[in-house]
Amino acid sequence: MHRFRFVLWRPLQLLPVLFGISVITFVLIRSIPGDPARLLLGTRATPTALAKIRAQYGLDEPLWTQYLYFLQNLSQGEMGRSIVFKIGVLDLMANRILPTVLLVVGSVILSLLITVPLASAAARNRGRPLDHAIRLVSTAGLGLPAFWLGIMLIILLSVNLGLFPVAGFGDTWLDRLHHMVLPCLTVALALSAVLTRNLRASMIAEMASDQATAARARGLPERVIFRRHVLPNSLVPTINLLAVNIGWLIGGSVVVETVFSLPGLGQLLVRGIFARDYMVVQAIAMAFAVATVLINFLADVLTVAIDPRIRL
């Protein structure tokens, strides 16, 4: 299986990207206006106390030395403490990671469940009313603001019909899943619009492809051609699109978590920015970036598994 050998060396290639991520995060966080020492000690701190804190955290040293400290701490799994919550950033994140993971995984699964049947139906009925309807809805769906869609779903399904909780996360697993339905649906609907258009287009291209014509010439029925030839070939570009959209998806979780008051990382990030809780913002931004890189890597593995021609 030497096609999969890239699994070994590809992570090495990602090192410069990870390095760049850390530099950008570090520089961005240090550029945020406000003196960290004063934030730690409060406005009534004495100048000596401030100087002491600055020396203690290396804040009086040049930026690149500070960056080295930052890297050193990072390698020891030390990401600093939250000013607001007064606990270690990593502990804080560990408490908040579950809703975000559930949201991302749930919406990907849900969007595929929506996309594949819709795109297939549209492609197989190309030019008929059903196709036009699906195209119209998915094109309109491109412009759905996730936060607004979430609010509309809340008004419709929670407030009016009382089917789902309005906000929050819940305590038992069943309760949590119940709470996750609307947030996942919100993200999935917005994502499905992009995916459906893309999958429909590549299915139509595959149905008109030479190899599908050849399969027809072999007398295979349309449904067999669709399932065995068209679907596998058209999934590859859609998986790539999904991977490209992972960044968007994680970013979207920031907004959707705010709408549904989900205690996840995204909500923490937004609060951190308003509260100037820099260590938290820094850690979450890095975590999101690393997650994006890893998910794209997984998508590469999946693409290679589906398409034997691709070598990385």
Binding site: V17, L28, P145, F147, I151, W248, V254, V259
Partner: protein, 279 residues
């Protein structure tokens, strides 16, 4: 069966339907935005607590918010901001991305490698997260939004243009230009770029959709347009506290976003069809 190369060909008599619809929709918003002072029935900012939280009626077609401001007027005035977001939020990334992508793809080698690593790094950050972080540094506001947009948004254009340039660099007509001893500038700007641009112009139209959504999301989070200015994302945020009692405050600005974004999507589809570009 040999398949002829798809070539851009302007079919003037039969313009694609999506293009016409898109132009009409976006055009309608542009007219509303330009004529806001004359078209909007009320002042979008002036508060009138005597008519607060009124449902849609003959006097206030789309109802009023908790300060008694007319939603219709705020939606119409909001079009000014959101169209501006769609335009300025696209044009800077487009220009920066086109330059970087063209140089990177044409020069190749180390230059290309450096730029592409930079693209990888920027792409690694979830778009909105990076935007939020940059705006946090610059302070909330529209100007910060545009700067953040320019800093983050160029990567898509750079990648698109670079990919096109890489293909065109080996096209026979570019080799022909090289074999005729034409200079690099002439080859890049007269022979490669005009042919590479169609794809990214179409992409810019569909990107406008994303930019408008992002602008609204940033304002919704409180990092973009600040109250009391009328902007759709901000209006949705302001109305969220009243969803059980006054659904119209959030619903109509959201619909406005959907309709404008739909217009740009149609514009992108129609333009793509017209120019023979497939995304």
């Amino acid at each position: 069966m040999s398949v002829a190369l798809a070539r851009p060909r302007l079919r003037i008599p039969g313009l694609p339907v999506p293009l016409v619809l898109g132009v009409l929709l976006v055009g309608a918003w542009a007219v509303l935005a330009a004529g806001a002072p004359w078209i909007a029935p009320y002042d979008p900012i002036a508060q009138d607590l005597t008519v607060k939280l009124q449902p849609p009626s003959a006097a206030h077609w789309l109802g009023t918010d908790n300060f008694g401001r007319d939603i219709l007027s705020r939606v119409i005035w909001g079009a000014r901001i959101d169209l501006q977001i769609g335009f300025l939020g696209v044009i800077f990334p487009f220009l920066i991305g086109t330059c970087i992508g063209a140089v990177s793809g044409y020069a190749g080698g180390i230059v290309d490698n450096l730029f592409m690593r930079l693209v990888d790094i920027v792409l690694a950050f979830p778009f909105l997260v990076l935007m939020i972080a940059i705006i946090a540094v610059l302070g909330p506001g529209l100007a910060s939004f545009y700067i953040a947009m320019a800093l983050v948004g160029w990567v898509s254009y750079a990648r698109l243009i670079r990919a096109q340039v890489l293909v065109l660099k080996h096209a026979d007509f570019v080799l022909a230009a090289k074999s005729l001893d034409f200079g690099h500038g002439r080859i890049l700007f007269r022979h490669i770029l005009p042919n590479a641009l169609t794809g990214s112009i179409v992409f810019a139209m569909s990107d406008a959709v994303l930019v408008i959504l992002n602008g609204a999301a940033i304002s919704y989070l409180g990092l973009g347009v600040q109250p009391p200015t009328a902007e759709w994302g901000l209006m949705i945020a302001e109305g969220q506290g009243f969803i059980t009692t006054a659904w119209w405050i959030t619903t109509f600005p959201g619909l406005a976003i959907v309709v404008l974004a739909f217009g740009f999507s149609l514009l992108a589809d129609g333009l793509g069809e017209l120019l023979g570009v497939r995304e």
